[in-house]
Amino acid sequence: MGSVVLVADETVAARCDVVYGLFGARAGAGWVFAAECDTLAVGSVVALQLPVGGGQAAVDILGRVTSLVPPRQIVIALDQPWRGQLRIRLERKGAESTRVSVHAEIDERGVEWLLRRRGWPACQPADDGDYRIGLLTSKSGPGAVFAVACENLAVMAVDELNADGGLHGRRVRLLVSDDATDPATGAAEARWLVRAGCRVVLASVTSATFGAVQRAIGECGVPLVHSVLNEGGGGPGHVFRWGERPADQLAVAAGPLMRTSGARRWFLVGDDYSWSHGAHRAARQVLPEAHGVIAGESFVPLGTKDFEPVIDAITRSGADLVLSTLVGADEVAFERRCFAMGLRARCRTLSLVLDESTRERVGDQAAAGLWTAFGYYQQLPTAENTAFLARYRSTFGPWAPPVSTLSESTYSALHLYGTAARQARPDDPGQVVAALQRLRAIVPRGSVELTGPHHIRQQLRLAEASAGGFRLLDSAG
């Protein structure tokens, strides 16, 4: 089966413009019309809560408005958990009557995703001699916000490896699994990727999932790569942890933010798992060295939606700086609430996981003025990055989600792996692992060097969120 278009329609006894105006208004107007969006405008991001049933929590469908004909048509491109399109048409049927039709496009992989979610087993693809690479990413759950472009970028890297002859004469095939931002699901999916014959598993997931995956498949010898930013940690030589480290992010950002704001009392807020705990440990070291004081700290369970108690605690603590290590949908909910509750007037915020996708879902208004420090931004003014973004847009179109440090690291990790695999003899995973422990390369973020399994040398850059993206700052400032 290719793509299928599902159609539903209904005649509503209300004026066309009234019905149109309900879209995104957060009323009880059905899950399609109760989409979450700040402004109904072409290019703006949309989240729809899909009731997947089976006693499970609703899953966020992440998308973007691509065309509007008020009050007659709304078109949304869907990015996760599947790529497709949602077209809503409103047709005037007399003065007080409107015919509403929804066309929803879903492809094979979307159907497969839904079936997996409802308990259908993952089937082994028949052995076709392909060189299999596994990608574990978050297509659902709070992590889908930061992981939204990872699959696209992995597909692009694999296409480029294949255009360059594949690996050891074999076509590279990407197998993708969704961890649902849940460690147990991630561990089960990683085991499946190994059973399916993947020679490397790339995990663009939270540290919580990564830890569970390492426990599940860490002993089997298949290289496992955490390319996205993380708090670090040991492990055997074939378990690679690259990505930005919180201590380095803080070293770049904390001093300049205190100098710019004249503030020094920090409140630390994070999700209650290894990443935030590791990042806050780094903060307890770095912030006092920069003459900062820690006024308070709060951890919330991953998946928290109500941040009012945390924001009250920040206010009570007298802090004038906030360090947020929240991730994905949690960071989105927190920053939006901070803005709504007027905290921005009292506190400057440094956010360690405010990538392009998270920033646009926080929204231009609520994100303005937030600081972060990463190795990659779309704004990097280099020839490599310009060419990379042009390839991404020509492959996935103008409405695909923005590239971020997380998705660029997924792309670059695949090319680094490809380079290492080509240096090794065929079917000698030990040589690939050895090559991956000492490798230099130019990737879209610039020049990087892998030194040992748990470190990547790269330049971090300070940036401030602004309308439509980030403004790069001089970290000496």
């Binding site: 009234v18 309900l22 259908w120 087993p121």
Partner: protein
């Protein structure tokens, strides 16, 4: 076969392990399945296989006195599409209820069109 049946069949943990065994091995006999699913006895496995067959999730093939089972991906795929179609339709029903409660006399929209 209705959406309901296929998704109900998948909602049970033992049935999911049975399906995983079939997915990993390809077509296999009731005996092989019962040997691989350790938590429950042979009779229970048989009755689960009957549910899976009648709900269109697995295909049964008889050869002599043996029965062999394989996955039927088309049934569940159809169920998934029907499920999504049902969700779209129910979303529009809720929209209708909300819009008509809001605007019996054509009151102002909550957001300006455009």
């Amino acid at each position: 076969m209705s959406t309901h049946l296929a998704f109900d069949a998948l909602a049970d943990e033992v049935r999911r392990s049975i399906l995983q065994v079939i997915a990993d091995r390809g077509e296999c006999s009731a005996g092989e399945i019962a040997n691989s699913v350790e938590r429950v006895g042979r009779t229970t496995v048989s009755s689960h296989l009957r549910v899976l067959r009648t709900s269109g999730v697995v295909i049964e093939r008889r050869a002599g006195r043996y029965r062999y089972y394989s996955l039927d991906p088309e049934g569940p795929a159809r169920a998934a599409l029907e499920f999504l179609q049902g969700l779209l339709q129910s979303s529009l029903r809720e929209l209708k209820a909300d819009a008509e409660a809001l605007a019996p006399g054509g009151s102002e929209p909550r957001r300006e069109a455009g």
